[in-house]
Amino acid sequence: MNINNDRKKYKFLEDVAIADVAYEAYGKDLNELFENAAMAIFELSANLDTVDAKEKIEFEFENDKIENLLYDFLSEILFLKDSKYMVFKKVKVSIKENKKYHLKAVLEGEGINPQKQQLENDIKAVTMHMFEVKKEKNKWKAVVVVDI
């Protein structure tokens, strides 16, 4: 669990998916929700104290469904890990809604180096099992299960 300024960013859920890892991410708006959902993946991949934000990667996505947008966004992080050999530490998301949802993301991290970083799980995929994005009162919540 990661606590920041007394507000939960994300929480790992136990015994939901025994062989996989499930988590809930939260945010006051969609931008924060997406950022926190990404941070959970970063934390699962490496000890973030051992990762530096040296390189930036930017990408954009569009979708008319917010759930699909989050799925594509998180899947892209796994794709970048394996194709650019990077682990990430920081993320900035900006989502604009105009008929469709348009996402701009900036990830910051560095090239994978097992001698420097404490690497953890090589996440295989974001699954659609229990996958959900919803607004509860005044905050957003997502449920994500990743295949480890």
Partner: protein
């Protein structure tokens, strides 16, 4: 899942166990973002997707005899690289020859006299003496197959409505087998299966090199023959008898593995009389089993059996019970030398987080869907 024998005994391996595991840890990359040693070009990677293990043998990553010891000769012939996204290719191209993380492993195991359940069959499978050292590898198509899964999951999500399909869980997104989308996925999935066969094949090549280096003897002289390589996440068109009639059906083995009986037409000559060797993996602390396929599996479970012991405890719960460093020390005291990239990943794989493998084996034997031949005890382990 792949099992390889040697003619070495534990007595010979034990003094060099540490050197052996360290060598394999170095030469078979594991963990997050590891790069494989096969530097394939895009056109070579397409050949790998198409020809699987066959490509490896043609490119000197193995022995010709390895093919008949692999499910489907290590190649699924309906693979079409055109059905695979360039994203999946980009993700997978440098992963050939990597182990991955999670429950994937490379294990040095030994045969105990009391764990030989069928001596005659054991001999036919290459397990000829107590204390014999064998190697087991569990890994698959890595990020490549998962990217294909991710790509087609999104495609199916968009087409299920068109086909009037509703599912209880979105992860079960699907398409009719004969639809364009269904056929495209079937051909793309075959590319992932071929990459997985090839991945284990090139890893075997590295294992043979590693043993050869440490024992200063050629792999051939160490008799490092494969027992078998069997997939455990795959869908295939097969012929089965249903209500007395032969039918072609798609058998999807997910969390299960093939267990064909003697004389099954898809078995290579080598195993025609014995039936197919079946490998069931247990936890890194408790051991694994070599079994044989049966007619009962054919009759009752579409030629399938269990593929592993299965978890009983979440990863987070396992990590709360033991620290990776402690587990590593405890296991070493018990004669199991483990080398892992991630200590928390190691804790997640602790033996107590899994079902008792003996219970699983007893269950499949009682059901008659595969019969135990040999039990294998771990002594060395490489983990991501």
């Amino acid at each position: 899942m792949r099992l390889v024998t040697t003619n070495l005994t534990y007595k010979e391996v034990q003094p060099k166990l540490r050197e052996l595991v360290d060598t394999l840890f170095r030469t078979v990359p594991a963990g997050v973002g590891s790069r494989g040693f096969v530097d394939a070009s895009r056109s070579q990677f397409k050949e790998i997707m198409t020809y699987g293990s066959k490509w490896c043998i043609e490119n000197s990553y193995g022995w010709t005899e390895d093919l008949e010891r692999t499910e489907g000769y290590g190649r699924i012939d309906w693979a079409e690289p055109e059905k695979v996204s360039s994203k999946a290719m980009e993700r997978g191209i440098k992963q050939l020859g990597t182990l991955g993380s999670g429950n994937h492993y490379l294990e040095i195991q030994i045969v105990k006299a009391e764990n030989i359940f069928d001596e005659e069959l054991a001999k036919k499978f290459g397990i000829t003496q107590p204390e014999q050292v064998v190697i087991m590898v569990h890994c698959g198509s890595r990020g490549f197959g998962h990217q294909i899964g991710t790509d087609y999951l999104r495609i199916f999500e968009g087409t299920m409505k068109k086909y009037g399909i509703e599912v209880y869980d979105r992860e079960l997104a699907c398409a009719p087998f004969q639809s364009n989308e269904g056929q495209d996925y079937y051909k793309a999935m075959a590319c992932a299966a071929n990459m997985a066969f090839a991945n284990r094949q090139v890893i075997l090549h590295r294992i043979r090199e590693g043993f050869s280096k440490v024992f200063k003897t050629e792999a051939e002289k160490l008799e490092m023959h494969m027992v078998y390589d069997v997939a455990h996440n795959i869908a295939k068109l097969e012929e089965h008898v249903i209500d007395g009639h032969k039918k072609k059906v798609v058998v999807h083995r997910k969390g299960s593995t093939r267990a064909f009986p003697p004389h099954h037409p898809e078995l290579a000559k080598l195993y025609k009389e014995t039936g197919q060797p079946v490998i069931i993996g247990g936890s890194m602390e408790t051991g694994s089993f070599l079994l044989v396929g049966t007619q009962k599996a054919m009759d009752e479970t579409f030629g399938s059996t269990a593929h592993g012991s299965g978890r009983t405890m979440s990863r987070a719960a396992a990590k709360r019970q033991v620290r990776g460093e402690q587990l590593q020390r405890d296991m070493e005291k018990r004669g199991i030398y483990v080398k892992a990239i991630s200590m928390s990943g190691l804790a997640e794989e602790a033996g107590f987080a899994y079902k008792n493998i003996n219970d699983v084996i007893n269950a499949v034997a009682e059901a008659g869907i595969s019969m135990p031949v040999v039990g294998l005890k771990p002594v060395g382990n490489v983990k991501g």
